[in-house]
Each structure stands twice: as structure tokens, then as C-alpha cells.
């Protein structure tokens, strides 16, 4: 999951006093900004949607905020910011994760796919096309996360990763509606487009099979 560069020892040090943002112009005192509201900076290189991106970030920056605020990839959404809603779902090193619950600096060398990297308006990913065909959204806020999660779920089924509703842990998996519903439980849709999302994913799964 990590590149060779990530295994080398690395330390993020407090930002030099003079360069730190200061409250009311007061100079920073004491042993550096750790434990305060002032930033500690660190460098990280990510590959986002096939492009290498070199960033210097506050160590507190989530992968989600790095994408949205620093790379201006605003397709991934911030819903709860606590891993409960799934609106921030990205595919990192081939797996879907909550980008709000991981630090950008922990992803040195990672391969990251956001909704922008799955497809564009003129070249939709099959899952994006299926969401449109089946009306798999209303307001659209959760949709980038739903689609990233949906693509990864079908890959997980294909790879034989079982779920809570898999009857036989040792038999091949099926992309049944029950499996899709269970596996998508980390993606909340307040508009309630769930049944259409299941239809969209079932459609794509059928075409893949």
C-alpha cells in the first residue's frame, strides 16, 4: 500500500516560528505549535486521478480536505466528517475508504481515485451512467461517494470478499440486492434514493458478469 519512499523515516517538525500564522501578531512562544491551534507542516506526494501532486500541508489535513481545499477537487463531499455518512468515499490504493477519517500525510505514495477520476461528463464511468439511467439520486450530495463506493463494492464482490449477509463464507459471492444493500450501508442518502441505487449497481454488475 505504501511506496518505497513511505518506509523511510520521516518527521514533520513544527513550522519555523516566523512563518507561523500568529494570533493578533503575537510571536509564538514555548515548544512549538503542537497541541495548539497553530499548524505543523509536512510534505506529502500523492497520485490523484493519475497525476502526481506534491503538497505541503498542516498535519491535521484530512485526505478529503487535501482534495477539496488544496487540489480543488470538490466532487468528494464533506457530510458528517466522522465516517458515518460516506459522502467523502474515495478509492485509495484500490480500496474504498472514508477520506474524512484519514490524514493526507499518511498517504505518501498512495494512488487515489476521486469521482473526477472515475469519469467526466463526456466520458462517464458505467456506474455514473447507470446512476443517471436509474435515477439513483435526487439532491446529488451523497452521489459521488455512492458511486465511488458502488464501483468498489462490485470489485469487492468480484474479489470474493464476503459480507455480513453472505450465507456461505466459502462460496462465490453474488451481486444480489441483499448483498448490495448490506455493503452500501456506509453510504447514507437523505433523499432516500436507495432502491434506485441498488438498481443502478445491479445493472452495472449484470453487464460486468
Amino acid at each position: 500500500m505504501v511506496g518505497a519512499s513511505a518506509t523511510a523515516a520521516l518527521a514533520a517538525v513544527p513550522q519555523a516560528t516566523g512563518a507561523a500564522p500568529m494570533m493578533g501578531g503575537a510571536p509564538m512562544t514555548g515548544g512549538g505549535p503542537a497541541g495548539t491551534d497553530r499548524p505543523v507542516l509536512a510534505k506529502v506526494s500523492l497520485t490523484v486521478n493519475g497525476q502526481r501532486r506534491d503538497l505541503e500541508l498542516d498535519t491535521r489535513t484530512s485526505l478529503l480536505d487535501a482534495a477539496r481545499e488544496h487540489l480543488h477537487l470538490t466532487g468528494s463531499k464533506k457530510g458528517c466528517d466522522h465516517g458515518q455518512c460516506g459522502a467523502c468515499t474515495m478509492i485509495v490504493d484500490g480500496r474504498r475508504i472514508n477520506a474524512c477519517l484519514t490524514l493526507a500525510v499518511m498517504h505518501q505514495g498512495s494512488q487515489i481515485t476521486t469521482i473526477e477520476g472515475l469519469g467526466q461528463p463526456e466520458s462517464l464511468h458505467p456506474m455514473q451512467a447507470a446512476f443517471i439511467k436509474h435515477d439513483g439520486y435526487q439532491c446529488g450530495y451523497c452521489t459521488p461517494g455512492q458511486i465511488c463506493s458502488g464501483v468498489a463494492v462490485l470489485a469487492e464482490i468480484e474479489a470474493g470478499i464476503p459480507s455480513h449477509v453472505t450465507a456461505d463464507l466459502n462460496a462465490p459471492m453474488q451481486a444480489s440486492p441483499a448483498e448490495i444493500r448490506e455493503r452500501m450501508s456506509g453510504n447514507i442518502c437523505r433523499c432516500g434514493a436507495y432502491s434506485n441505487i441498488v438498481d443502478a449497481m445491479t445493472d452495472v454488475a449484470g453487464k460486468q458478469a
Binding site: G32, A34, G35, T36, R60, T102, L169, N170, E182, G186
Partner: protein
């Protein structure tokens, strides 16, 4: 979130040393619980030691016929491992009953064991909580407690261990392997890994400061039928109200551990002698001395019925 410095050490002993020598430092692996708590300033480490690059992510057979699961093996990978599915199905089932797909892809074996034992008042920084702020009191005692502990609790804390994986680890008699700052190694039986709250509810485990989990070892397979049955408020992505991890042999004997009922996975080995006589006999003994609140007394009956359902499933 309070700011923090960050480092990636290159060996487990170096990681343990880094946390030991730095005041208010913490290990970070998957980060799914720690970062959540840091955002709320319930956890405020000033230094994070990232253990993801330490190569602790293999699952290997042991000479004793069991499995050694690296601390950094992701929950998804542990649940999907062919040997775990075949020989330790209760563990696969417990993992798959926990969290969401996204979280299982990130959460690690050691991190799952180290997720904070918690309750809604622990998360609410406007309320007193002895676990979050020792000595501040327990809001849950007179608060809403239907999710909370029915046994092993104290006047200081009635939080429940929220995990599913640890309940299965407990029924399998897993062993937690650690390394400390000086490179010293220790093996902790899972039964002794999580603590009851007593008068120090802020301490969830028996790990020493700076002690790093390197692996969890499973003894050789038990055989039998493996069942993990979880009762919750919704069908997916919710904590257990009560869960049962059971391994039942063809002659009706077996083992059972309970989740959602105490500050740690709850297993009373002496009660398992009653397994062949049925769930009521087992839970009468396993929950002897229980002190439920007004809100959560239902859990005692639910534990009996959930074990009963597991035993019925095992006989089917």
C-alpha cells in the same frame, strides 16, 4: 483538532520508543477511531507515530497450528482470509458485522482492539464523563443507558466495549503480542487485555504506555460450528445491543462470549459447562451479579435469547 507533529518510524521497537519518549504521543494505524475522537478534542495527542509502514500486515501459520495475525492486517483482509473463513468463521462473521465497508478497509487488527470503550456521554464534551475527564462524574448513571453495560461496571463508568472482533477473539482465546521501547516482548491473553472500569475508567486496556501491539495469535482451530449473532437497532452499521460469539461442538458443548454488555468482551468459562443444557442455564451463570439500569435490564433477557438462537442455529 489540536495540532500535532508526525513521524513514520522504521521498526516496531523504534515506534514504541518514539511514543515512550514523547509526552502525549499516540500510535496511529487506520485512524478511524482516533481521528474521529481528535476532531472532537476528546483525544488531543501532540505527536502521532504512524505505524502503517512497519510491515506488520501478514497472516502466517504458527508452529502450534494456529494463525499469527499482524497488527496492521486490515479488518477486511482478516475477514476475507481463506484460513480464517474456514477455521475461525466466528472471527470472519464478527468482523463483517462491524462498522461499514469503508471503515473495515482502513481499520486494523490492533486498532480494532484499541478502539475506545465508550458511551454517548463520552462523546458529548458538554457532559461529565469519568472516562473522558477522570473525576468529573458519570452522566450515564442517571442518563439514557439502554445501550450501556449490565455487568462488570462500576459507579464510575457503565460504558460498553463497542467492538465485534474482540468478542470473537475472546471466544477463540487469542493472545496479544507486544513490543516495548526497549525491544522487550510480551504476550497478553485476550481475557486480560481489556479492563473493567473500576475506579479508573479512563484506562481501557492493560497495555503499558508506549507498548505497541505487533500481532494477535489465534490458537489451533477449535472445529465445531462458529456463529456470531448480533442484535442491533438497525440491520447494518450499528453497535450491538447484545452480540454472541459461539463455537458449538456436535455434542452440544462449546464456548460463548457476549458483546454489548460490559466494558470488555464478556465470557465466563465456568458458565460454558452448562452449554449442553441450553442458553438459560449458561446466561444465568454468565450474568450472575449483573446490575442493569432501569433502561437496559432488557439486555439480560436478550442475551439469553440471542444465545438461544445461536444454539438453535448450531443444531440446525
Amino acid at each position: 483538532m489540536k495540532s500535532f507533529t508526525y513521524e513514520r518510524p522504521s521498526s516496531p521497537a523504534e515506534a514504541a520508543a518514539a511514543v515512550s519518549r514523547t509526552p502525549n504521543a499516540k500510535f496511529i494505524a487506520g485512524g478511524t477511531n482516533l481521528l474521529d475522537l481528535m476532531k472532537l478534542q476528546i483525544e488531543t495527542p501532540t505527536h502521532l507515530v504512524d505505524v502503517n509502514g512497519l510491515g506488520l500486515d501478514a497472516i502466517a501459520a504458527t508452529p502450534e497450528g494456529g494463525l499469527r495475525v499482524g497488527a496492521l492486517v486490515r479488518n477486511t483482509d482478516l475477514a476475507a482470509d481463506a484460513r480464517v473463513r474456514r477455521d475461525y468463521a466466528v472471527l470472519s462473521r464478527a468482523l463483517l458485522a462491524g462498522a461499514s465497508g469503508q471503515l473495515r478497509n482502513k481499520a486494523t487488527t490492533a486498532g480494532n482492539l484499541l478502539q475506545r470503550t465508550r458511551c454517548p456521554y463520552f462523546y458529548d464534551t458538554a457532559q461529565a464523563c469519568n472516562k473522558r475527564q477522570p473525576g468529573s462524574g458519570c452522566s450515564a448513571l442517571d442518563g439514557v443507558s439502554r445501550q450501556l453495560a449490565v455487568i462488570g461496571a462500576s459507579d464510575a463508568c457503565i460504558a460498553t466495549h463497542p467492538g465485534d472482533m474482540a468478542v470473537a477473539m475472546r471466544v477463540l482465546d487469542a493472545t496479544v503480542e507486544t513490543v516495548d521501547a526497549k525491544g522487550g516482548q510480551r504476550r497478553i491473553p485476550i481475557a486480560e487485555f481489556h479492563r473493567l472500569p473500576g475506579d479508573r475508567p479512563e484506562v481501557d486496556t492493560t497495555l503499558a504506555p508506549g507498548e505497541l501491539i505487533t500481532a494477535v495469535t489465534l490458537p489451533k482451530p477449535l472445529g465445531g460450528t462458529h456463529i456470531y449473532r448480533k442484535v442491533r437497532d438497525r440491520a447494518s452499521y450499528a453497535y450491538a445491543l447484545v452480540s454472541v460469539a459461539a463455537v458449538v461442538q456436535p455434542d452440544g458443548t462449546g464456548r460463548a462470549a457476549f458483546g454489548g454488555v460490559a466494558h470488555k468482551p464478556w465470557r465466563v468459562e465456568a458458565a460454558e459447562a452448562e452449554m449442553a443444557r441450553g442458553a438459560k442455564a449458561v446466561t444465568a451463570q454468565a450474568f450472575a451479579g449483573a446490575k442493569p439500569t432501569h433502561d437496559n435490564a432488557y439486555k439480560l433477557k436478550l442475551a439469553e435469547r440471542t444465545l438461544g438462537a445461536a444454539l438453535t442455529e448450531a443444531r440446525a
